[in-house]
Subunit: 473 residues, 3 copies
């Protein structure tokens, strides 16, 4: 076993005294239940509870972090077994796994490496890094174990102590699997999230068709502003019946608007008439964020905004293999200016809560922490995506705590598509959180008992409280 | 006493060897006199030297850092005893103090906590954190002590070893309290600062009235460019008679301009004629910065620019309770491009000195440190506002020293409205400075004797030298 | 000898255990050969191999880092012996050296201090910091030693174990010295780099004349798009004959374009007809980057982009003493959006490689590391210029490794004009690299043997591989 492979003190501070404090803190939080209030796991897994297929389709082909890195070194998505949109031939699972395993050193120093090591060990008892040498052996071992009941989706949730997990579905989604989960009494543990980007983003290729579909689903005239908002109102209620306590909104920037009533219908009319201008698309997205905030005031759903990603920057791969393969690149956001219309309208409302996420670290200390430390409605989402990593977490805590305090933080989100990365990601968050709190303790900024309380709160309870989840899922 | 409450080693490095160096350095600087060349204390305190009223009006209601955090967790400004603009009823001092004390844990990890602990201990001998349990006891204790002569404003300055403190007044201010201080022979220790935003910012609601007032005060025709500049010249002289060695300019961005003479009067004419456009307002502010630099070349006053804050982002609270309650949010600035016209005109002038402050940390390493390491006139202001904190100071020193060196730094400003936070803030700066210098010493980048000289210089003397204050106030 | 003067453990981590790991790693890399694939040394030095003149012209007047800092404290370029453009009198070498030496403390905490100490010790055996006291002694000592054969340019390369060094020449450069080096069989060890900014930047004062010159040199009609590209093709081949494996492009921002063929000639025609608009100048630079990428696909030359510097912000000094005296200030760049057209066209091409450099640290974690971790063609250049420093390197590695991995990094560039700073700069990089890897080892993110492999690779081999240099220069 490699001396660094999942060492019990991994990610703890270098200084031995501080490290021992971190270890003490971590012991108190490592076994706490996992609250996973935002993510992209597939509800079918939980509804059908069928075994996963094989190592490659479980661990490699759905993991855009891993695929992007292999692609960056010249490996082709075909050779990595990623399905082609044209149905053409790609490598079989074993070949793809061999390629992955023999390039495993590319992940040194990256969060993928920590997550994968953890998943391989946690799920399959593997205790050495993947390599060309063990590729076939690990492939066979994983495939064999996958038929164990203990590795079915619900058993994984049990063993990982996942009290509650939220998936994310678009506004038109029939929530078929959540319907089945509801019949099984599993809503509460498994929940959906209302993400209406399919009908709020005029740049969506099927925007108008989707808007029409929304009208049909809800028996509303969604070509009128009032009907459209009412349709959202109904879909939100439907999603709440399937466990949703939150909405989520993916937007290219942090812009919001608060238009006078008289300008809303004309904006919608222009979009319907087409052609859709960039200005109107932006304005509609901005206005819809404020509309969604208004509906949150009504129905109490927690609003999430994930802002600032340039999606699909590689049209060739988008055409050949689809989205979510690593070509989404973060960009600059301006939340102080952008969120102002929304916050001025609803930022004091006790029923409103907004959790904001972005990938522009420059705004954490400059804008977001001061804002979260002022507006009652605003909480800061944890480090997202590329920054959900040891150093990303360290930079985040360094940047936000002094101005936002600890209690305006939303705890942790794993935000993952990879089921087995859930315990791994929460493990990393808890370790890095304990490291940060241990440093504050060594520096006598907080006492050890204060550090313990904060470690416990931010490991698990903060997410439950922030997302208004009931005390037990 | 909580083990973390004002521990003598607080904020020092984790590594024990480095910590002992930091402790040695700090021993050499902890008792040095305080130079406070920029801040917002009330000159009336020093002119009348009357006792402070009570705990709440001393420590809670004037502290926008504290109020904002309590507000962010849903507490109302009314319940916190913040006076309403409409004179309506708000909580009495004791009720407000109880609310504050029982929410004291919200400040864990924030600079407010360090400053408050320090002030409570330094001023009143309190040696435990505030809490619901001790709220009444501490309230009574503080109120009782406030009648001691040792807690009158001038006695506080004496005990804190404040050699010199500058307040900040607008251009039209009659400097009544500084006049009284002058008669008492206290100018030199107490000084004013010329901050003409009331007559240089066309977005000020009373801009034109103020400009008229400036003309009346100075017997100049301030509707002509020449007269307006001459009026500033006279007011600067008046402020210098009341101790001012510096001017200060609060601007939304770092833009400066250097217009040809022929365009100045037409710009002023357009502002007077109205309506004032955003472009002209911005251009006037930009040009006035360069005009002020020109006057600094003439009269030797040190020029400060505080750039990049979006003020009053919460109009509801602005209307109900006024400004400075936490809704001012930092934004991006572009000093490389913005300051170029001003620096190209005056950046080499030996009589000119500009100290620049902003809250956009992204420009420290990228723009400001390279600029300060080139232009003779430019010095870097210390970490400001949200960044006047342990981690803010660490990030600042990490970002600027390598490109700007130590000698282009302006030392420390407490920039506070809270008298009792002055010793606390200088204590934090000195600790963090010593921590940084100790790390450089452990890493053999500088020797311990070099670290000592730098610690001593940057704790006190740098501010005096940068602001051209005489050797003894 | 000052206790901090070139301490063998300098720049290593504070924690003693981690420091000992860093020391072990450093022992493995300190003697590795230096690959210097990008820089600005003078090829005449290597072609003629004449001794350097004196201490001042070797160490002071060509070093813009040093000159800028002295200038920032009010010293004049005349007094520092910097030649005037008008041929006017400036201080002699000894006077300038005295001024420099007596202000040596200004460099405390800056990379210049580390580089200078290293160069003084490495080249001349000096073992104390410069000072007013030793100014004359060190000046005489250096001048005396400069006549030793061991301090001729080629001997310096030998002793510093520089396997390969690339200079940088503009497109019209006749490569006279490289021609001489070629006859001497030294191409391979000394190489040129193709930097065609003189004919690709319409804001260059001699742009049209240069374009005409390019046509004459290549026998192409460079006023036609096809002819102009063909002229580049020929010059690139000529540069390759003189060792070039790479091109370099200095641009004010990261913008690229991919115009339809029909728009290219009209763009060129507008530039030739003049007056040149800012929009056309920007568009031409943007398009030419993509054209150069296309030529790299053809000929395999590695493309470098250095983006985001505001050049010559001090026109007074530019007029009196010329460029490269410290008034070049970094600015913001937007690589995600800017590089998109180029990467969408060539980012997957196996023959194409792009190394990107900028000075806007905010984009490292946000944009560049995610991009380098996706696009096969894109590698990240090391910390450049102001960020080629202990803390700059630490921030760089902290920001990029988790998303880009180690294998998408281009190793190290010294990028220097100062020959004696080459071993110093590689020493600093290697120390800081080992410090980072030691920290990852202590935190059990990587094993010590993995750290060793990475330290060895990134100290030397990574640069060779990334720049497609043959195994032995």
């Amino acid at each position: 076993m490699s001396s660094s492979f999942l060492h019990p003190d991994r990610l703890f501070p270098q200084d031995s005294h501080t490290r021992s404090i971190a270890r003490d803190l971590f012991e108190q939080v490592t076994a706490l239940p996992i609250i996973s209030p935002h993510g992209h796991t597939d509800p079918e897994w939980f509804a059908t509870n069928q075994p996963f297929q094989d190592a490659t389709s479980l661990l490699l082909t759905p993991d855009h972090y891993v695929l992007r890195m292999l692609h960056s070194r010249g490996l082709s998505f075909d050779d990595l077994g990623v399905p082609r949109r044209d149905g053409g031939q790609v490598a079989d699972g074993r070949s793809a796994w061999r390629l992955f395993a023999s390039n495993y050193d590319l992940f040194l120093g990256t969060p993928s490496r920590l997550w994968l090591d953890h998943a391989l060990n946690w799920g399959f008892g593997i205790s050495e890094p993947l390599s060309a040498d063990n590729a076939d052996r690990t492939y066979d071992l994983i495939n064999e174990r996958l038929s164990d009941d203990a590795l079915r989706p619900m058993a994984i949730l049990d063993r990982a102590k996942v009290d509650c997990i939220a998936t994310t579905e678009f506004a038109l989604d029939p929530l078929k699997h959540h319907g089945a989960l509801k019949e099984d009494g599993k809503i509460g543990r498994i929940r959906t999230t209302y993400r209406p980007d399919d009908v709020t983003d005029p740049d969506h290729p099927s925007f108008l068709a989707n808007l029409t579909g929304l009208g049909e689903l809800t028996d509303e005239d969604t070509f009128t502003w009032v009907g459209m908002i009412n349709a959202h109102r109904k879909r939100r209620a439907f999603f709440r019946q399937h466990g949703a306590t939150a909405t989520d909104h993916g937007v290219p920037d942090a812009g919001t608007a608060d238009l006078p009533e008289t300008q809303k219908q004309p904006l919608l009319d222009r979009l319907i008439a087409g052609p859709i201008t960039a200005t109107d698309a932006q304005l509609f997205r901005a206005q819809m964020l404020t509309e969604m905030a208004g509906l949150s005031v009504e129905d109490g759903m927690v609003m999430q905004i994930h802002a600032g990603v340039r999606r699909g920057t590689d049209p060739v791969v988008l055409a050949s293999h689809g989205p979510n393969l690593g070509a989404d690149i973060p960009t600059r956001v301006s939340p102080a200016q952008g969120l102002e219309p929304l916050l001025q309208r609803y930022g004091h409302d006790k029923n409103f809560r907004l959790i904001f996420f972005c990938l522009d670290e420059a705004v954490f200390a400059r804008e977001l922490a001061p804002m979260a430390g002022y507006w009652p409605a605003l909480h800061l989402g944890p480090p997202w995506w590329f920054h959900d990593s040891a150093r990303g977490i360290a930079r985040y805590l360094d940047s936000v705590v002094e101005s936002a305090g600890f209690m305006n933080l939303a705890g942790f989100n794993d935000d993952t598509r990879a089921l087995l990365s859930i315990p791994a990601r929460h493990d990393v968050w808890r370790r890095c959180l304990c490291a940060f709190l241990a440093e504050l303790t060594t520096q006598h900024v907080i006492s050890k008992s204060e550090a313990e309380k904060l470690a416990i709160y931010l490991s698990s309870e903060a997410a439950r409280a922030t997302y208004r989840l009931p005390a037990k899922g």
